[in-house]
């Protein structure tokens, strides 16, 4: 990998003008919870669709004293997480950590850490498709109008048709939620397990979509409710009777792994840092 700590590149890669624009757009996003703020997304040395939105937020927000944690699928050691962490280290030279509690900024793909986040922490999501209505309506011109008019009946209808056809809502991840009773937003492809953590959290949640050029936010202590019918309440993934094979937790989101040696399905925490912490605590 190229070493980028180099006179030719600015601190944290982006030029200061770009960072200022992104920060301004972020402030707007915080002011209007769940509203997608368009921004002029910059090209980065990692591919569009690979976390450039989250990365631009991270690069615009970090200062020399920040401590960064990057996870993908809940794991600090996932290739893409390593690659992104490396890029920030190389261009900003800041400290990184795997400890959720130590980080000031956490960039994530597909998970919210199990350990509750605090007031002085920011969770930055990488968002592939920021528009929750896109699955129903491909045209941006129309979806923007639907948001403006708070016309979400088409989304409700798709959930209704789901129930009629399958008996359950089949949306597994990226479950559509309403922020502050107003804007429908996509929580990014996190599992439903993590949705309740969005509601009235202590930390700030920021969402960046690089390819689609949108920033949105859920500020601390904001109402976040998943769409659900009165008689079909929202359900998180069920791990009833399962526990992590490493730390023994039965209150975390688990990955299902097929163990070749035993020919059995085993389960393991998706949040690797949390799993290690539990293992230490339980002295396994």
């Amino acid at each position: 990998m190229l070493s980028l700590i180099d006179e030719r590149y600015n601190f944290a890669f982006l030029d200061e003008g770009s960072k200022r624009e992104i920060r301004r757009k972020t402030l707007k996003a915080v002011a209007i919870p769940g509203y997608q703020v368009p921004f002029a997304s910059r090209e980065l040395p990692i591919a569009r669709g690979w976390g450039t939105g989250g990365l631009q937020l991270t690069l615009s927000l970090i200062g020399p004293k920040d401590v960064l944690k990057v996870i993908d699928q809940g794991s600090d050691d996932s290739v893409n997480a390593v690659s992104i962490r490396h890029l920030v280290e190389n261009t900003a030279g800041i400290a990184t950590t795997e400890e959720t509690g130590e980080a000031t900024i956490i960039q994530t793909r597909h998970r919210i850490p199990e350990q509750p986040l605090r007031e002085n922490q920011i969770l930055v999501f990488q968002v592939p498709l920021p528009e929750p209505l896109r699955v129903i309506e491909p045209r941006e011109e129309i979806t923007r109008r639907q948001h403006a008019e708070m016309d979400y009946s088409s989304m409700w209808l798709s959930l209704y048709e789901d129930i009629v056809h399958w008996g359950v809502v089949t949306v597994s991840h990226s479950y559509p939620c309403i922020a502050h009773g107003r804007y429908l937003f996509s929580p990014s492809p996190i599992p439903r397990w993590d949705i309740p953590k969005l509601n009235h959290a202590e930390c700030l949640y920021l969402f960046g979509a690089g390819r689609e050029k949108r920033i949105y936010a859920i500020p601390p202590y904001t109402d976040v409710l998943p769409l659900s019918f009165e008689d079909y309440p929202f359900e998180v993934e069920s791990f009833v009777g399962r526990a992590c094979c490493k730390c023994g937790s039965s209150d975390t989101f688990l990955n299902e792994i097929f163990d070749e040696a035993s020919g059995q399905k085993i389960y393991q925490c998706s949040d690797t840092a949390f799993c290690k912490k539990r293992q230490r605590e339980r002295e396994i």
């Binding site: 002029a40 290739v79 008996g167």
Partner: protein, 376 residues
């Protein structure tokens, strides 16, 4: 435990990077000379610069070398580099009418003022593999170039000609640009976020940076019947234009613009059927415009077709701004398609939960029964 074993953090990435280098060089007798790539892979360089949105032939050559000839990857390298550069100036509008031409044709007229000028084109070569190229040696090359230069010196070199379209304009047969298109300051797609409907300047910029293959495919669909545009090429010209920036040291326009160099461009002006132009008060042809970096004729023609197609109303894919403009960018399309290689096991776990849950659910008949009971 697929990804978990691959991860292993930094080591895996470092070794992947070393492997790329190994595969690039393992059978190399001599390293590729960047200068040679730049000079001999002319059309590839031009595509990379166009899709990367940066006119930098040398960097395009380095990028191509680094990407083992993958044009999308090379264009991406240029784009990423580009975003680290501050935007210091906007150039003055270049003037393709003053182009020093290397090629210029019109299919609308047999003879055009100044004459057709075929220039370097593969259009009429027979597509037979030239096996002699295997043994092309330096002496052959030197001899050919020497002879050719002598002939060229005798002929008039790189002329400038007026535009073919201007002939039609003088007869009032061409539609002018609609008022609504006259934007005081063009939109900058690299600095501002786009919203739809997009202004014309934004549409043209996105098309100029678009991926050649994607644009050709879309333009082709329009010509085959999924759209309204099947044009005649009024003029296609390839040549060099001078680039100037405004005198930078004063707000007043007291200083002369400053010449900063010359770039190669391909420009296409197509003439559309006047019957498609229903807004005009009398029958006039409307024009479609294509302009891109380097020598890239398919892209410039496709751009002109798509540009005029987006001016028409209808249900064809190429009449939908969002459909065309959101999907022709090489870096975005390649990025998102390839992101599927990233791990998705958490979301897939979530989907597994839903499919299992679905299996355990009552069918809709049962829901109806429940509903009927409620009714009573």
């Amino acid at each position: 435990m697929g990804y978990v074993t691959v991860t292993g953090g930094k080591e895996a990435i470092v070794s992947a990077n070393r492997l790329i280098r190994f595969y690039r060089l393992k059978d190399a007798a001599v390293p590729l000379d960047v200068k040679e790539i730049q000079s001999q892979m002319r059309l590839m360089i031009d595509r990379v610069m166009g899709e990367g949105g940066l006119y930098a032939p040398e960097y395009a050559a380095i990028a191509l070398k680094q990407a083992e000839g993958d044009i999308a990857e090379a264009a991406f390298l240029l784009r990423a580099y580009r975003s680290t550069l501050p935007r210091s100036h906007y150039s003055l509008t270049v003037e393709p009418a003053q182009m020093r031409l290397i090629r210029r044709i019109s299919s609308a007229f047999k003879d055009i003022p100044g004459g057709q000028m075929l220039g370097p084109t593969y259009d009429y070569t027979h597509r037979l593999i030239d096996f002699a190229l295997t043994n092309e040696n330096e002496d052959d090359i030197a001899a050919f170039i020497k002879d050719f230069r002598q002939e060229m010196d005798d002929a008039e070199q790189m002329p400038t000609f007026s535009k073919v379209i201007d002939v039609l304009r003088s007869e009032d047969l061409m539609d002018g640009m609609p008022e609504s298109h006259a934007e005081a300051t063009p939109f900058d797609v690299t600095m501002e976020s786009l919203s739809f409907p997009a202004p014309r300047s934004a549409r043209l910029q996105l098309l100029a940076r678009g991926e050649t293959g994607a644009m050709v495919a879309l333009a082709y669909s329009s010509m085959r019947g999924y759209g309204a545009v099947h044009p005649t090429i009024g003029e296609l010209r390839v040549g060099f234009v001078s680039v100037y920036i405004p005198y930078p040291f004063s707000d007043q326009a007291e200083g002369m613009p400053i010449y900063i160099g010359e770039i190669l461009l391909t420009e296409v002006e197509i003439i559309n059927s006047f019957a498609e132009n229903k807004t005009a008060d009398k029958a006039r042809f409307s024009m479609g415009y294509g302009l891109c970096f380097g020598h890239n004729e398919p892209k410039a023609i496709a751009m002109a077709i798509l540009e005029s197609s987006l001016e028409t109303q209808g249900t064809a894919p190429v009449q939908d701004q969002e459909f065309v403009l959101m999907h022709i960018d090489s870096v975005e399309a390649n990025g998102f398609v390839s992101h599927l290689k990233l791990p998705h096991y958490v979301t897939f776990q979530s989907s597994l939960d839903r499919i299992r849950q679905t299996r355990n659910q009552p069918g809709k008949e049962e829901i109806d029964v429940i509903a009927d009971r409620r009714e009573v």
